[in-house]
Subunit: 312 residues, 2 copies
C-alpha cells in the first residue's frame, strides 16, 4: 500500500490528502435539510448529512488526489450513526480509487492495540468466518505506550500490506509540552526525535520498494523540526497536518520532502471541505457549489506546494 | 460523578472496577452458539454474543463493585456491530447503578479532542435537538498532545459533571520506553512525573468534594512509581490497571491509596470475566457457571486488596 501511495502521488502529481472532517457547521444547509426531512433532527439525520456532504466532496476531488483522511472523531461524536457514515465514506472512497488513511490515533497495551489493529486494518474472526470491519488502508497510531503498543499494528499491516503513521510531532500549539522535552541521557535531544528514531527502527524491518510501511505524523506548523525529523527518518513517509487553517504554508513544507520529491503527504481538511465558507472563495462560490469550491482549493494547494518545491 | 464514585467505593467497600473486555475466546460456547444460531457467524452474531456475555457478568457482580470499565477496542474490533454492543453494555450497566469508565484512550488536537469528548461524555447538537451518543461517566485520555488535547475533555466534563483518567504510567512492559525518559531541565525526573504534575494542575481547577475530576492511569505493575505519583497527585483518583492477569498483586497496590482509604480504583478484566477458564477456578466452575466464577473472583480480589490495606 505504501508503494501504491507513492505511485498515486506521482501519477496525480499531488502529495495531498484531503481531510474528511465534517462538522455540522461545514455542511451546507440544503444537505442538512434534505437529510433531516427524511430522518429528522436525529443522529441518523446527522449521519446522512455527513455522508451526503462527503460524497459531494469526494466526487469533486477524487481525480486530483491520491488519498483522503477521515478523522474518526468527527464521526464518533455522533455515536453509532456517525460511525456508519465513517464506514460508508471509507467504502465509497475506495470505490473511487482513493487510498484511505483512518485518522484514529489509537494506541494501547499490546492485546488492546491488537484489537484496534484488527478492527481498522485487519480481519476479525467470528467462528469460521472472517470480516474486515472498518478496512482503512492506513491508520494513525499514538506512541505513548511504547513498542508493545505499536507492534500489533505493524504485525497486522505485514499481513495485509497496509501501513501506519505514528504521531511524532503533532501540529497543535501545546504539542511541545511533552513532545519537546529534552531527554537527559540522549544528549538532551527532544522526545520527538527519540520517537522519530523508533519510527525509523520499526520501519527498517518493514520496507516497501523505497519507503517503509511505518510513516510518521509531523505538523506543518513546525517546519524546522520537520527538517530534523526528515533526516532521522529518511525512509518514512511523513503525513503532514496543519496546512491551511492551522497556519502551515507551502514554503513551510519543503523540508518535509526528500530529494526524490516523495516522502511527504500534506493534509488539508477545513481549507478544502469548507472552502466555500472561506473569505477567499465565498464571493465566487455559494453553498450549492461547495464541491466546486473544494476542487478549486485542492488545485490551489497543489500549485502552492509544487511552486514551493520548484523553488528549493 | 467523582463524588459518587468515592461514595460507591465506600458503600460497597470495594475500590474495584471490572474490566468488560470481552474476546471471542472468553465467551462460553453456549452463548456464542445461541447468538450464531440467530445471526449466523457474522459481526452481528459476535456483537450479540458479547452483549449476552457482558449481561451475564454484570448481573453477577453489579452489587459488589462501584464501576465497570469497558475497553472500547474489544468492541471496535467488530466494527459497527461491536460498537452497538458497547453502547448496549454502557446503558445496561448504568441501569444497574454502575458507574461506567469508557476505556477509550482518545486524545488529539483541540477541535478533534472536543469531538471525542462530545461523543463519549457530552451532548452533540443536531439542528435544534441534542443527544448523548455514548454517554460514559468517565473516559481515559492520552496526554501525548499536551494541554490543548486534554482541556476539551475537561471542558465537557465541567458541563456534565463527569471525569477523565489521564494516562500517566501505563501497565505494559514497554511503557518505560518513552514514559520513563529523564527530562534534562526537570532535574532529570522521568516524563511520567511531568505528566503527573500536569494532571495535578489540570485537576486543581476542577475539584469535587475531596478529589478532583481529573484522575490518572498508573499500572499496578509499577508499584514504586505508583508511590511517587500518589504524592505528586494527592487529589487525583488513580485508575490502576494491570492487577491479576498482567501480574499486579494486592500487596503492590497499597501505595496507590491515600490514608483515607480512597484515591485508587483497581481494574481487573480477564481475571474476573474469564475466571471460569483460569487454573484456580476451572475445577469448580464449568462454562455454564462463568458468571458465578466472575463473582467469586471479585470477592477474592476484594479480600486481597482489603487485607493488603489492613496490613500497611
Amino acid at each position: 500500500m505504501i508503494n501504491r501511495l507513492n505511485r498515486e502521488i506521482q501519477k496525480k502529481n499531488a502529495p495531498i490528502v484531503v481531510g474528511l472532517d465534517p462538522t455540522m457547521k461545514f455542511i451546507p444547509g440544503f444537505i442538512k435539510e434534505a437529510a433531516f426531512s427524511v430522518y429528522g433532527e436525529t443522529l441518523q439525520g446527522a449521519g446522512e448529512a455527513i455522508w451526503q456532504f462527503n460524497k459531494g466532496i469526494v466526487d469533486a476531488v477524487y481525480d486530483l488526489v491520491p488519498a483522503v483522511k477521515p478523522q474518526i472523531a468527527m464521526y464518533e461524536q455522533f455515536g453509532i450513526e456517525g460511525l456508519i457514515a465513517y464506514k460508508k465514506t471509507i467504502d465509497y472512497c475506495k470505490s473511487k480509487g482513493l487510498i484511505v488513511i483512518g485518522d484514529v490515533k489509537r494506541g494501547d497495551i499490546g492485546s488492546t492495540s491488537a484489537a484496534y489493529a484488527t478492527g481498522h486494518l485487519g480481519k476479525v474472526q467470528v467462528g469460521n468466518e472472517s470480516f474486515s470491519p472498518f478496512d482503512e488502508d492506513f491508520a494513525t497510531v499514538n506512541p505513548y505506550l511504547g513498542t508493545d503498543g505499536v507492534k500489533p499494528f505493524i504485525d497486522v499491516c505485514k499481513e495485509e500490506k497496509k501501513g501506519i503513521f505514528v504521531l511524532v510531532k503533532t501540529s497543535n500549539p501545546s504539542s511541545g509540552e511533552f513532545q519537546d522535552r529534552l531527554i537527559a541521557d540522549e544528549d538532551n535531544r527532544p522526545l520527538y526525535e527519540i520517537v522519530g528514531r523508533k519510527v525509523e527502527e520499526w520501519g527498517a524491518d518493514f520496507m516497501g520498494e523505497s519507503y517503509s510501511y511505518v510513516g510518521a505524523v509531523v505538523g506543518a506548523t513546525y517546519p524546522e523540526m520537520g527538517k530534523v525529523l526528515r533526516d532521522i527518518m529518511p525512509k518514512s513517509v511523513i503525513l503532514v497536518p496543519g496546512y491551511g487553517a492551522q497556519g502551515g504554508k507551502g514554503a513551510d513544507l519543503v523540508h518535509f520532502f526528500n530529494e526524490d520529491g516523495l516522502g511527504a503527504i500534506v493534509n488539508s481538511s477545513r481549507g478544502i471541505i469548507a472552502a466555500y465558507q472561506s473569505d477567499k472563495y465565498k464571493e465566487k462560490y455559494s453553498e450549492s457549489n461547495f464541491a466546486d469550491a473544494a476542487r478549486s482549493a485542492v488545485l490551489e494547494m497543489k500549485d502552492d506546494i509544487a511552486s514551493a518545491l520548484d523553488k528549493r
